[in-house]
C-alpha cells in the first residue's frame, strides 16, 4: 500500500472520528432556540394562542409582534399558514374561527398607524 493511500485512509479516519464525536459522543443539543425553529404543530398552537390573546387584549400591534417571533413572513401569511395546518390537523371549529378572525383583522392592519410599544 502506497504512502498516499495510507495518508488518505488517515484523513478519512480522522473525518469519521470527528463526525462520530459530533453525532454520537457529543451530539447537538437543542438549547436556546428561537420560536421560528418550532415544529409546525407548535407553531400552529402558538398562532392559536396569539388569536386567543388578541380576543383579550384587542391589540393587533401586540399580536403582530408576537407573530413576528415565528419568522420573517408577514403576520397575515403566518396566520393563514397556521389556519391551513390547523384545518389539516383537525382543530376545533371554534379555534379555527378564532384564527380566521385574527387573519381578517390583520388584513386591514397598518403597522404605520400603530402606536409605539411601551
Amino acid at each position: 500500500m502506497s504512502r498516499w493511500t495510507k495518508f488518505l485512509i488517515a484523513v478519512i479516519l480522522g473525518a469519521a472520528g470527528a463526525l462520530f464525536y459530533g453525532w454520537v459522543v457529543n451530539p447537538v443539543e437543542y438549547v436556546d432556540t428561537a420560536p421560528d425553529s418550532l415544529r409546525f404543530d407548535y407553531k400552529t398552537d402558538y398562532v392559536l394562542m396569539v388569536a386567543e390573546a388578541y380576543q383579550v387584549e384587542n391589540s393587533l400591534g401586540l399580536a403582530a409582534r408576537r407573530l413576528a417571533l415565528l419568522g420573517s413572513d408577514p403576520p397575515l401569511e403566518t396566520v393563514t399558514q397556521a389556519v391551513n395546518t390547523a384545518t389539516q390537523i383537525g382543530y376545533d371549529l371554534a379555534d379555527l374561527a378564532l384564527m380566521r378572525s385574527l387573519a381578517e383583522a390583520l388584513q386591514t392592519w397598518n403597522p404605520n398607524q400603530e402606536a409605539p410599544a411601551p
Partner: protein, 293 residues
C-alpha cells in the same frame, strides 16, 4: 532511506487534516440549523414570552387543562412557581397589567386553589361552573392524519435542511374548553386593623381578599394612592402566605388611600403607625380584609 526517516508522522498529519475537514464541514460549510424543535429548547427569554402568552390565552379560554398541556411543553418542573415568579418580575418591570394578572391567575389556578375566570377576565373564586352551551369540545390534535405525520417526517428529513436528533412527531393534544363563570358582587371592606408584627421588618399595607365562601382570591388588582403618586399591586404573588394576600411597603410621613381596582370602597388615611412591645417601638402593619358579600 530518506522516506524511512520520515516515520509514521504523515499518518498523524492525515488524521489531523481529516478532523479539521470534518469540523469545517460541520461548522462552516453546512452548519446545524435548528428546525422542528420543541418549546422546551427555547431560550429563557422566549420561554418567558411563551409562558406569558399561554397565560393570556388562558384568560380568554379559561381552559386550565389546555394551559397545563401547553406549559408542559416548556419542560418546567414547577410551572405554577415559574408563573408566580414571572408575575413578580413582570410587575417589577412595569409590564402590562393584563399580563401580570394573567400570570398570577394561571399560577393560582395551577396551585390547586383555582381562580376561575369569566370571559371578561374578572377573577371569581369557587363558584359553581355554568356550562356554556355554545362551546363544543375541542378536537384533539392527536387525531392528526397520517398525511400530516408523514409531512412532518418528510420535512424533518428533507435534504434542504440538515437536521440531526430531530424530535419525533408527538402531536400535542389540545383539551376541550372548560365552562366559564359569571361575575359576582363587588368586594367590600370587612376589617381594618393595625397588626403589630416584628417579623415584617417594615411598615406594610397588608391586603387579604376573600370570596363569599371566605376563600382567598388571587389576581385582584389593588390601587394605592398618595399625594403625588399611585401604584398597583396584585393578590396571589405571595402564595406561601395566602393566594388572596398582597402587601405594599409604606413610607413614614406619607398618607395612603387603598382601593380595589374593580371599584368599591376606598380606605383612606393609612399612615405608618408605631407599635410598642418588648424590644421597644417599631412600625406596625395595616391589615385590610376585603370580602365578597
Amino acid at each position: 532511506m530518506r522516506e524511512e526517516n520520515r516515520g509514521p508522522w504523515y499518518l498523524l498529519t492525515g488524521l489531523v487534516l481529516g478532523v479539521a475537514a470534518g469540523l469545517v464541514f460541520a461548522w462552516v460549510i453546512s452548519p446545524v440549523r435548528y428546525v422542528d424543535t420543541a418549546p422546551t429548547s427555547l431560550r429563557d427569554d422566549f420561554k418567558s414570552q411563551y409562558r406569558a402568552l399561554i397565560a393570556v390565552a388562558y384568560l380568554y379560554s379559561g381552559d386550565l387543562q389546555r394551559a397545563r398541556v401547553r406549559l408542559n411543553t416548556l419542560g418546567q418542573a414547577n410551572p405554577a412557581g415559574e408563573l408566580a415568579l414571572q408575575a413578580q418580575v413582570a410587575l417589577a418591570e412595569g409590564r402590562p397589567e393584563s399580563e401580570v394578572q394573567a400570570l398570577t391567575l394561571l399560577s393560582a389556578a395551577l396551585s390547586g386553589q383555582a381562580a376561575q375566570i369569566d370571559l371578561t377576565g374578572t377573577p371569581q373564586a369557587n363558584q359553581t361552573p355554568q356550562p356554556s352551551p355554545n362551546l363544543t369540545p375541542t378536537a384533539l390534535v392527536v387525531q392528526a392524519t397520517t398525511a400530516v405525520v408523514e409531512a412532518a417526517n418528510a420535512t424533518s428529513t428533507s435534504g434542504a435542511t440538515r437536521v440531526r436528533g430531530t424530535p419525533t412527531f408527538t402531536p400535542t393534544p389540545l383539551p376541550s374548553r372548560t365552562p366559564t363563570l359569571t361575575p359576582g358582587a363587588d368586594f367590600v371592606l370587612q376589617d381594618q386593623k393595625l397588626v403589630c408584627d416584628l417579623t415584617s421588618g417594615e411598615a406594610l399595607i397588608q391586603v387579604e381578599v376573600l370570596d363569599a365562601a371566605r376563600q382567598p382570591v388571587p389576581g385582584i388588582e389593588i390601587i394605592v394612592r398618595w399625594d403625588g403618586g399611585e401604584d398597583h399591586f396584585f393578590t396571589g404573588l405571595h402564595p406561601q402566605i395566602s393566594l388572596g394576600y398582597a402587601d405594599f411597603a409604606m413610607t413614614p410621613g406619607v398618607t395612603y388611600q387603598v382601593q380595589l381596582a374593580s371599584g368599591g370602597q376606598t380606605v383612606p388615611d393609612l399612615v405608618v403607625t408605631e407599635c410598642e412591645g418588648d424590644p421597644g417601638r417599631y412600625w406596625g402593619n395595616w391589615r385590610l380584609e376585603f370580602v365578597q358579600p
